[in-house]
Amino acid sequence: MDSFVETAPPGFAQRLFRQKGALGSLLCLALLALAGLFGPLAYPHAYDRVYRDFVLTPPSLDAHPTAAETQAALADFVQEMNVAVMQAGQSADGVLLQIISPKQFDPRVLRYFSRADIFEPARILIRSADGHAVTVHVPIHRLVFPFGTDANGRDLLARIFIALRISLAVGILATLVALSLGVAVGGVAGFVGGRTDLALMRLVEILYALPFIFFVILLTVFIGRNFVLIFVAIGVVEWLDMARIVRGETLAVKARDYVAAAEALGAGPGAIFFRHILPNMLAPIAAFLTLLVPRVILAESFVSFLGLGVQEPLTSLGLLIADGARTIQSAPYLLIFPACVLAFTLGALNILGDAFTRATEGRSQ
């Protein structure tokens, strides 16, 4: 986008930011992009880390485990390891236990704590003379799940971060694919004209008539459920509108006097297209691009919703929403948070796209 603002006539940026909501949505998008880029690095939970003790934990800013959860975990420990806990005390960062076992105390019992999500490896403080009783200190691992956890016990916020990264990456890459295909086909059709134009536009019309899902499914069949190639599949489907717009713009710009002048000066077709025609239709292309990105993100979400897109444990916003829709009754937050993030992303992109379109229209008036 930066390079575009530079090539636009002076005043474009001002015109853009005078549009209602343009600045706000740009900031919103920047924040979302930052969250996608750096969220997974800065956030303590990994997106694929499974906390078996915290399946479907509701969203809360309080640290886990709570006192009750600690008690439950200790009771579980007693039962599983067949020992008795005589007295339990609190310390600043953990619990103190006096463990009594019927036989000689086996330190392997303490492995329970290294396996559990909420405890860290226990340390033996005092061992009784007969070896049946020990006092151990078990540090508690404090966890916060601001958006709760999913049905596998994975932190939802961490998954939203990685989903944002994937969805934005798909949005940008697939849009680039659509952009290059659309500009190439539309540009050639409009610039060369005649039979070429007719043939290419007929091709676009035919591809229009084929259902979107047919393409996506077919492409996933051909290239497998490959992560990168999903970008290509969506881009290859979404270029048709771009081709039409570029063709129309090329036809309009080709008729301008300065193109005729360049031709009279002996400029070759390549020079005319790249130096005179392409730069003069950057504005409408950019305006359309800002509307294409949300469509592409939506398309990816849709494909993932059908189970054909990004595969577990990676995730995208569409996949999170699909999972959330399944548990809507027991854990509505699993739907609501990702849906809000997707709605924010799409809303901001749409507002920005509208502002872009209006700002470019302002130039031609």
Binding site: I206, A209, L210, P211, V221, P294, Q329
Partner: protein, 305 residues
């Protein structure tokens, strides 16, 4: 009339090419309709292929398929044995068509009303509300709207069935139609409002005002003048809605045509996929044709230009 004929002929050619592309792409894709069955031995596989004519060379299969098409025969389904594609469609298509038509009507009526409201009270509260509604309906995809509607009206209020078709009982229509119609209503409202703003400021409307025409009539004229962008959007939209939405049919458990499509394509049910592609493509081409013709009706400049 001649124009209409050439357009029709061109449409048929387009449809033919679409069928050809779909046929060859489908058959060239790795895997086949029977390969996924567990423990199938090569002899049975060959037998099955022979039964459905899949052992012939591709061009011959294509010719065979086209010949059937000319007789209106879409062939047997390869996955739903004992059913022909036509039989499957005769059950699923009416369901999708009904829902699609209802959604189209709701979207159009609501969209025009909201667009008019936004354009008439341009700076008022109503315009902002319409703007906000339109934006949220566009930004929230239908696979979010559908479960939310289920949650609120089905599970929360217990007013409407959560899903199912129930032989088309009217309460089962409401949520799917709402899911289909809401985003489209928003798009139509926005398109119409933007275009109406220009038309209401145009000399033709000023003249009507000067004649002292009553307000409703003025708006009726203005809507007609502002309808072209909506119309060009309606063509593909109608085709999309009528052929059934995969998401809506999956979420609400509706036995429409959209649901077949994904399973058929994944299972390489060649004939069923091709049948669906033909229906979808025919509808897309048909509605584009209708829209082109309606352009001339609405805007005489197109007809004589």
């Amino acid at each position: 009339m001649r124009h209409l004929f050439t357009r029709l002929a061109a449409s048929l050619v387009t449809l033919f090419v679409v069928v050809a592309i779909a046929f060859f792409l489908m058959h060239l894709a790795p895997g086949g309709p029977f390969e996924s069955e567990r423990g199938i031995d090569p002899a049975t596989l060959a037998q099955l292929k022979k039964l459905y004519g899949l052992d012939l060379p591709l061009p011959q299969q294509f010719a065979h398929y086209l010949l059937g098409l000319l007789h209106g025969d879409l062939g047997p389904s390869l996955r739903w044995r004992d059913f022909t594609v036509a039989e499957l469609f005769s059950r699923a298509l009416p369901v999708s068509l009904t829902l699609g038509t209802e959604a189209l009507i709701v979207a159009l009526a609501g969209g025009v009303a909201l667009g008019l409201l936004a354009a008439v009270r341009r700076n008022g509260f109503a315009a902002r509300a319409v703007d906000l509604f339109a934006l949220s309906a566009i930004a929230v995809p239908n696979f979010v709207i559908a479960p939310l509607l289920q949650l609120v009206f089905g599970l929360g209020l217990r007013a409407l069935p959560v899903g199912g078709w129930n032989d088309g009982a009217w309460p089962n229509h409401i949520l799917p139609v709402a899911t289909l119609a809401l985003p489209q209503m928003a798009v139509i409202a926005r398109l119409l409002a933007a275009s109406l703003k220009d038309v209401l400021a145009s000399p033709s409307v000023r003249t009507l005002r000067a004649f002292g025409l009553p307000q409703p009539l003025i708006y009726a004229h203005a809507v007609r003048g502002a309808f072209l962008p909506v119309l060009s959007y309606l063509g593909p939209l109608a085709a999309n809605l009528l052929t059934g939405s995969v998401v809506v049919e999956t979420v609400f458990g509706i036995p429409g045509i959209g649901r077949y499509f994904v399973t058929a394509a994944l299972g390489r049910d060649y004939t069923l996929v091709l049948g669906t592609v033909i229906v979808v493509a025919a509808l897309v081409i048909f509605f584009n044709l209708i829209v082109d013709l309606l352009y001339g009706v609405i805007d005489p400049r197109v007809r004589h230009g």
